[in-house]
Symmetry: D2
């Protein structure tokens, strides 16, 4: 029996999240849906389906039982509002989900649903699934932004402009070197997030206190199969109170936010009326009916705004690492929102930055005028060589990855 | 013409926010609805209605025009999803709201909608209205929790228990003194939030760059009337880039969160199986089907979890205070979410703590047993006098407030 | 017996703190010394001297005993390094300080040193003294910066310049209106800090678990006299685990940091080579030997750098509010450094901003050139009236304060 | 010419940092000295010495010149206080350091000191050197703590105790499984920090605007040799405004802090008087003269206190990632303190936790009594197998590393 095909990717199933008043600005792109309540619920149900499949494969019960459970694990069939309200009685939404799931599969099968698991197993594994599914599209946008930066670096590796330190004219650089710096920052952040997604997003299954009690000696085997089913890593120990996974993911997102803020800020500064070296060329956006002379760099501004949330949200996740004993009395629950918010904010920032850089119009003439304003000369040092080197290193790495 | 009656309180109008998967735990109580997207939209429309009323009173156009605008300013008539999507084109949701509002009132009247205002005027004033409306119920829950602490302090001012330092037995105290400490912290936080609500929630109206341009000399008068209409304070200057109001509110909420965490943590620690001095007595909550001997202090745990968000969210608001020139290129947008999240998280924490303290069952016998465990004596010093003094001070202050 | 004159202000006594490598930039101005280790130690000793004086006044022992103790409470006589090392054994520096103090006064008198007090009483009261003493010079610099902004607002209330939104040209303002906005933010922050200093910096005295045990019925009287001696507020209860005082102070400093960042950022942006509307005129600073055309706005840059620390440090203090039982197992110790760092960073930021604004050179001609660049007209709306109003309100308030 | 031996490790040279009042608690262990002002200054001088050596190797001038410079690059010969004061004039301490260094080597040689470099090159490279040198001892303490946890896990893999969820009794575990969880968290954090130290601590050298101007075509070669001299990584581009290195290091330290808080908190909770399952056995520490029955878990409390600083400090570093153009106007300076503070705080936390765990006395009898209190049975599930598996995985990995 191979890993169950019932665990499909969320994009096929999740109903679109309701669009919020500020979401157009602050929750742009595909990550919003990937961290929606419905996506979380589906991930929780995916855990239950995969658990049943794993236990069937381990011989605890028949495959048909697992298939019946999997068939009922579809988020659309559940009323999220009701579940949310009932969650207050037990302190998390798992109990009301299980009640409905057991009703759906009938009494006989219901008895084996969630066998040997505890609420935290469900939510922690769901957090990993949600994160993994969200990091995918998020990385596409970061890599898209990095690729746009690479194209700018290539096209403008020899385009001279003034370098500015403390926002004062210093000595010449090339715009390509600046863009290459953006690219390296974005690639670095993307690499880290990719590594975390591939190696650290692990299943959590330990039962009431992390001992795999009540499963005879089959516990470890079930953990192994469960990881296989869900295509998550298998941890050496249940990690219900060992939160480095959450912290590393949060930190990785925080670093990505910083790598996004840098180019966004440079675009905003170069787009200033007095500087005028770039402008965002996205059709139909950024105009001001009241002031026709004005073209706002909406995408860069929005990218920066979204990314600015990250430091505080990372601090929330780090401050919640002190989990008491075998289940934390607060710090666990305190992770849920900042994790979703961080994925969404950084995802949105990445989508905006990509948009900004892909539509960036570069005014080489203005760059030259500004450069000559104070007679700063035209010695760009090794700018061209450096930009080229960074582009070559990227190409080499990309080629290595593709083979 | 007296302040317009069309600006009603949100409770009459706002449609219930959708219940999220984690909201039963993390968004308990009435604040959730007060900071919902619908509440924000209504507050934005309240600004437009009040602006028209103010300009009519200042003689810019007829009262009937203002009344027609006010009649259209009802959030239920707007599609939030659509607005949110369109917001991406201009970087905030005001333009799509105005388009719909102008359509609703017809071409002739539409021309004076939003007269002399800019997007930030709408959203900043809405932020103040939303905050003021949310702080009301939030304060009710903090004060409810403080009152519950006061009742515990009164009832148990002479109930001896062991004082604990670094979680080790130290010398005796009374439970009433401990509860009086909770009460003082909560009252202090409530006083601060009440002061901020009453004195610092101010209207924002300045036009494109804060100069009240395009209103001839009537600008200042309109600001005055607008504040009157919306029952907000009138600021000495437009505060579009002077963000101490947002920071103070955020900080006040952060302090409240800390004042909530303290008693929540004490309840959790006293409820430990080995300590057993209190338990939450809310009917139907906290039981565990798997472990009958167990009664989880769900309310205190949830209060702590909600309150733990605050430090990071306050940091977000403080870090966003650097607004460039006459409108910030990112920091302004970066305030919207943490402000709502902070109101909601602290509101939820307050609701949970109130629930915990109002249903707290105190085991005096167990307190005595624990006290005697190490022979720590029974000298409670001035504990009774101190608790009494704190209660008396509270009564005096409360009496002074009522006259 | 009147409040003891032995408790002098720290400036008379504190030996200069060692100058650190980065202190010229990051610890500018008088606050650095006010939060030095020596200042902390002196404040701890001031507590012991005042406690003895209070207990003598309450009749616990003779005035001569108290005077002997006070005479030994001079920080210069203590070796801070040694104390710091020994602090590791008990988890705080109070025990080694007391050992030395008792040695200094001799065995007979030593027996009443620290009578009825616990380590946290010493350090918490010292924290209040240090804060109060540091807020004084800090406020002088904030008020100096506000005054410099007021002078700019007055001188330039009618100086036209372009208003900028999202860093793009919008509509005209006056430089005086911009400076008036800086002034209002700084004044608001200063008012809050002044209020906190005057009303919330309170003595802490409660003994081992906050009950004033071991003092018969004299405990409350001693608290009262101690507050009088140290010119601190008298709290309704010992506040050893009720940390709103620390949180409010931290938040007030965080708000001040934000009020400082705003003008610093505007100065940096206006000083850009392409914009050129202001420059810092401090003699002998900001020049670059390598690039003669360049004049760095060092003071504004440094102000911003110092102020940027605040959000994270405030988050530390807020996250440390959950004090367990009668003495926290970590959160208490976790307050010491961020409190000092916050005072020092905000103090340094204030000193730098004051320097920047007091030496700001305004290029009205350049302002006009920039304004005319896009033909934005010259309608400054009510800018002049608004700036005047803010200046008048300031003068009125200042006059009211002086009478 | 092989890499210069003049760049010795700081332990040989650095003069001990002055011991601060709170350092015994908050700056324990060897990291304090590694991040002292003197260590920073030495690292700056190491940059200058290595730069000269690299340029000599590249043929820019003779080896004797480089050796003369290296001979003068000894921090003891510089007056840190004076440098700190002069730093205010240029906004960083590099200019006053260079003035002294040039004086020391004489006019002829002085002309080539710092050739082609800018202040930020010096400080950024010094930040990497300081970090690398501090992470060494820091890792020794984290690994020491992990090793102590491993020994506890091995010795107690079968020692039954109650598992606790939400601080309530749940089902049995073994103490060894709990300790194995601590071990995994600490090992994970150590691995991350080790990776960062080995691969991401890179030299920074770019000149005034990152183009290696003024070095003809030798710039890239000099970067290469400089990295070799200083045993730092060679970056693909100058990273003066691409701050993922700083962010990753900060995040790694934040994760380590969380991995430290978890066991510290468990120790504190298990050491509670009512629980009594462990106590810290360090001779001569934690006793209370006033209360003989008491033994405070000073080391665990101090570890927690130190580690609690991390989330706010990490937020500072992440919030400072938005570096404008070719040198940031504030965010760069804003990194210096939180980086040092974070290294020191996490280093101190690690030293304390190691001390706590290495001296932990386990009361198996009390564990059994607590376990039996509510009749929770004795089924520890797969606890023993899981702990064993984690220990085996550790041994395998360690063996692989040694070969």
């Amino acid at each position: 029996m191979k890993p169950s095909s019932s665990i499909s990717e969320p994009s096929e199933r999740a109903v679109a999240a309701g669009g919020g008043l500020f979401d157009g600005v602050l929750a742009r792109g595909p990550v919003r849906e990937a961290v929606s309540d419905r996506a979380w619920l589906q991930a929780m149900l995916d855990f239950e389906a995969a658990l049943a499949a794993s236990q069937a494969r381990a011989g605890l019960f028949g495959t048909d039982v697992a298939e019946a459970i999997a068939a009922a694990c579809r988020a659309q069939a559940f009323d999220i509002d009701e579940i949310g309200r009932e969650a207050a009685d037990t302190g998390n939404p798992v109990v009301p989900v299980l009640r409905r799931l057991r009703e759906a599969v009938g009494e006989a099968t219901g008895g084996v649903v969630h066998h040997g698991a505890t609420s935290q197993d469900v939510i922690d594994t769901a957090a990993m699934l949600v994160s993994k599914r969200a990091v995918g599209p998020l990385l596409q946008d970061i890599c898209g932004a990095a690729q746009a930066a690479a194209l700018l670096a290539r096209a403008h590796r020899g385009t001279p402009m003034i370098g500015r330190t403390l926002l004062q004219h210093a000595v010449p650089i090339t715009f390509g070197l600046k863009a290459a710096g953006w690219m390296v920052g974005l690639d670095t952040a993307a690499d880290r997030l990719g590594d975390l997604r591939d190696s650290r997003m692990a299943v959590q299954f330990g039962g009431a206190a992390g001992t795999l009690a009540g499963l005879d000696e089959k516990g470890p085997e079930i953990v192994h199969r469960l990881a296989e089913e869900l295509r998550l890593a298998e941890p050496v120990l249940p990690w219900h109170t060992e939160r480095t996974r959450i912290a590393e993911l949060g930190s990785g997102l925080g670093e990505a936010a910083g790598a996004i803020v840098k180019p966004a800020l440079d675009v905003i500064l170069m787009a200033q009326t007095e500087v005028g070296e770039v402008r965002e060329g996205t059709p139909g956006r950024g105009g001001s009916s009241a002031m026709e002379h004005k073209r706002n760099p909406i995408a860069a501004v929005s990218a920066r705004a979204c990314a600015m949330r990250a430091p505080g949200l990372v601090a929330e996740l780090l401050a919640a690492m002190g989990h008491e004993h075998e289940r934390a009395a607060g710090p666990w629950h305190a992770e849920w929102r900042p994790l979703s918010d961080l994925l969404m904010s950084v995802g949105s920032a990445a989508a905006w930055l990509r948009d900004s850089l892909e539509h960036l119009e570069v005014d080489e003439k203005r760059m030259l005028e500004n450069l000559e304003r104070l007679g700063s000369g035209n010695d760009v040092g090794s700018a061209v060589e450096l930009a080229t080197r960074a582009l070559d290193a990227r190409a080499t790495r990309s080629a290595a990855r593709d083979t």
